[in-house]
């Protein structure tokens, strides 16, 4: 890690000048964004400073219990986020539960394999590796799962007549929902596919940039980035499939009926 250049807080204050310039511009042009921008910026500063302190403490503690507890907290926040992004939520425990469960199973499985098989830190749950990795994978899986589920419930609701038309012609429930399954899968997978295609040409991923800043050889940084992208791709695909299969299972029944009565009334997108 030679050549790492630490930033002073003064450097950050200078950089924030650009944001303040933006806010002034917004006031001047009456875009009405100044307040929103300010709130978002303050949130970002507070959240990042807090997470820096928390991570420092957790790394110092070096305790498996503390590490796992933090992972659980991350799951809860991400699960809530999936739930909040649904326009048509399922009733009961399925509403918040399904997306969170799909994301958790997929994310945990992939992270466990990566930590024990590829990264090989000692101990394998070492928070310095486990938590950032879990965070990156959870964040991307969360986006895929929430998009996939939202597309599934919205299109089953809107196209209920088409699904029931196929059921009436003797299709099984899985046959009847197939076009909508495909649409939901595509919508859940699109962000990760796009970011894989753009990576390295249009954008240099944050983690790789960070490692290069920290003095790591670029080809080594690329290897890490590839590992992360594969893990994210795998976890997202698995999470999206689990959530959509679970969603179809819940919104149909054993007599091959469409059960939209198991959806709650619509909410505006949160």
């Amino acid at each position: 890690m030679s050549g790492y250049l630490a930033l002073s807080y003064w450097d950050l204050v200078l950089a924030s000048g650009f944001l303040i310039l933006n806010a002034v511009l917004s006031l001047w042009l009456q875009l009405g964004l100044a307040r929103q921008m300010l709130v978002a910026a303050v949130r970002m500063v507070v959240q990042l400073l807090a997470v820096g302190l928390v991570l420092k403490a957790v790394f110092a503690a070096g305790s498996a219990l503390v590490t796992f507890s933090l992972a659980v907290v991350m799951i809860l926040f991400a699960g809530r986020e999936i739930w909040a992004r649904q326009e048509r939520r399922m009733r009961g425990a399925w509403g918040p539960g399904l997306g969170a469960a799909a994301m958790t199973v997929a994310g945990t499985l992939v992270v466990l394999i990566a930590l024990t098989q590829q990264i090989g830190a000692d101990p394998w749950w070492s928070p310095r590796y486990a938590l950032p990795l879990f965070g990156m994978i959870l964040g991307n899986t969360m986006t895929g799962v929430s998009l996939g589920l939202d597309t599934l419930t919205a299109s089953l609701w809107r196209d209920a007549a088409a699904v029931e038309a196929r059921l009436l012609l003797g299709a099984t429930k899985w046959e009847a929902v197939r076009p909508f399954t495909r649409r939901a899968m595509r919508s859940g997978m699109t962000p990760i596919i796009n970011s894989m295609a753009a990576t390295g040409v249009i954008s240099l991923p944050g983690m790789m940039t960070g490692q290069i800043f920290a003095g790591v050889d670029p080809t080594e940084a690329v290897k890490y980035q590839l590992l992360i992208m594969f893990l994210i791709g795998g976890a997202t695909a698995l999470g999206v499939v689990l959530a959509i299969v679970g969603g179809i299972w819940r919104l149909t029944d054993e007599r091959h009926r469409l059960r939209l009565d198991r959806l709650a009334p619509p909410t505006g997108p949160a």
């Binding site: 059921l167 009436l168 012609l169 007599r255 009926r257």
Partner: protein, 200 residues
């Protein structure tokens, strides 16, 4: 052939009715009385209480997709999932004669769903459901959106089905249509069915 007893829908109950082979039973009643819900319940599209038998066999003993092939429902509003009409037919060629007898052009299979008129949609939905000759036909206002000629062709198709021994239960708002060719009429009000005399 079709025996329904103690059926409860969201609109009420209990409803009991029988339809024998070769019989056309008209189901009438005010809007919102639950006629469509009864058809949906018989086709097992909604979860409902009650016993439904086909040729003495309880519905629960027949897998739902099989049941719906034998007991075919044509809803008042048809659903479409592909762009081309023909893609909605398992065997488009088999449907051509039926499509012609419904008064439509034989190349209707090549048409785009988005450009169909309400009446064309309705008749193509009927063709799609009836092409494989189900035992029971559940028709929800099959001629509601049709003009004189189209309605007559559709009524003829229904009569022919009845001649081949299908049991037909048909929701209609048109008392004249019910008198014209229904074997008997049932009247639904407040969730209860009553038999109407065949000749009014």
């Amino acid at each position: 052939m079709l025996e329904v007893s103690g059926l409860w829908t969201k609109a009420g109950g209990p409803v009991s009715l029988n339809v024998r082979p070769g019989e056309i039973v008209a189901l009438r009643g005010p809007s919102g009385s639950g006629k469509s819900l009864i058809l949906r319940a018989i086709a097992d599209l909604d979860a409902t209480e009650g016993s439904v038998l086909l040729n003495g066999i309880p519905r629960d003993r027949i897998p739902a997709p099989e049941w719906r092939k034998k007991v075919a429902l044509v809803p008042a509003e048809s659903g479409w999932w592909a762009d081309r009409v023909g893609d909605h037919f398992a065997d488009p060629d088999a449907a051509r004669p039926l499509i012609t007898s419904l008064g439509l052009d034989a190349d209707a299979l090549e048409w785009e769903v988005n450009r169909l008129s309400t009446g064309e949609r309705q008749r193509l939905a009927i063709a799609r459901a009836l092409v494989h000759d189900p035992q029971v036909w559940l028709l929800d206002e099959p001629t509601a959106a049709l003009d004189g000629n189209a309605a007559r062709s559709t009524e003829n198709v229904i009569r022919e089905g009845c001649g081949r021994g299908a049991a037909i239960l048909m929701v209609t708002h048109d008392p004249a249509q019910a008198d014209r060719f229904a074997t008997r009429s049932l009247f639904l009000a407040d969730g209860r069915l009553s038999e109407m005399s065949a000749v009014q």
